[in-house]
Amino acid sequence: MTPEKIHDALNAAHPGAVLAFDPNPKLPSIKVAPSAWKAAAKTLRDACGLDYLVCLTSVDRGAELEAIYTLETMGETRAPIHVRVLVPRENPVIPTVEDVWRTADWHEREAWDLMGIVFEGHHNLVRILCAEDWEGHPLRKDYKSPDTYHGIKNNVT
């Protein structure tokens, strides 16, 4: 399906879920409201044929945190669709899609570990890269690395 058709299908199935649409042929993106994201994800997979979550990444936009889902159809070679979900920085909660695409399991853990986005409903939302007792989310713009970690000095410059 073309990005326009996917956008129309999503709009028809979930009115109000799509907040913005960019039909850029090289980087088509759809902005989806966080509250409607779980149902929209199932529509994208089942009705629009986007059966492959290539990547889940996150961006610190200042007042908001953004999760970007890169979706493709297996076997098709056109540009992937990007779904952007923005949540407020104070309460960054997005419903999980690990039961829609299995890729999301570890990727959501990574986005939680490094950016601090809470994926509600995830079965095992624990840190995946940093140590278990690490404090903070390192890829946030306001992150300050610890001066010491387990008694070893960390900031030397």
């Binding site: 890269l129 940093c130 140590a131 690490w134 390192p138 970690y149 387990h150 070893i152 000095k153 030397v156």
Partner: protein, 181 residues
Amino acid sequence: MAESIQEINLNNDSPTRDNILITSVDQLVNWTRRSSVWPMTFGLACCAIEMMATGASHYDIDRFGSGPFRATPRQADLMIVAGTVSHKMAPRVKRLYDQMPEPKYVMAMGACTVCGGPYIKHGYHVLKGVDRLIPVDVYVPGCPPRPEALLEGLFRIQDKMKRERVLDRERKGLRPKLLVE
């Protein structure tokens, strides 16, 4: 070795003829030790690729009396810390070091293990030098060091082994210190 060994011929009869050498225990033990340095199979990042190249046929670390990379710290006497040590990995490195039998030697291979390397400013997750965790005998700089540099580091370890004293259990003057700030 040659000049420190004295060859004596007690008589002309076999089997003692041409078969007796005199040397000190230190000379003999140090010679055997530095001729069979067993490193631990232990790579953390890209430096380990150069370490593998050093062990392979082109650079052939076996020429210099090392090379049997052991799969357990219990059988190793040289730890080549090859690669970035993250804070998460640090307790594991420390435990492996503690499991090695004395006398043990540590080589910090590459910029990351020497001082933190490219991660020194913004690497929140990187240990800024493995000498904050375990005492290091020889530092091999480079990013990554060439296999020749790693071999040179091995020679410096072997130079250190030459100065060991069998009766000096504490290894006074030879044991490196931990970096404490």
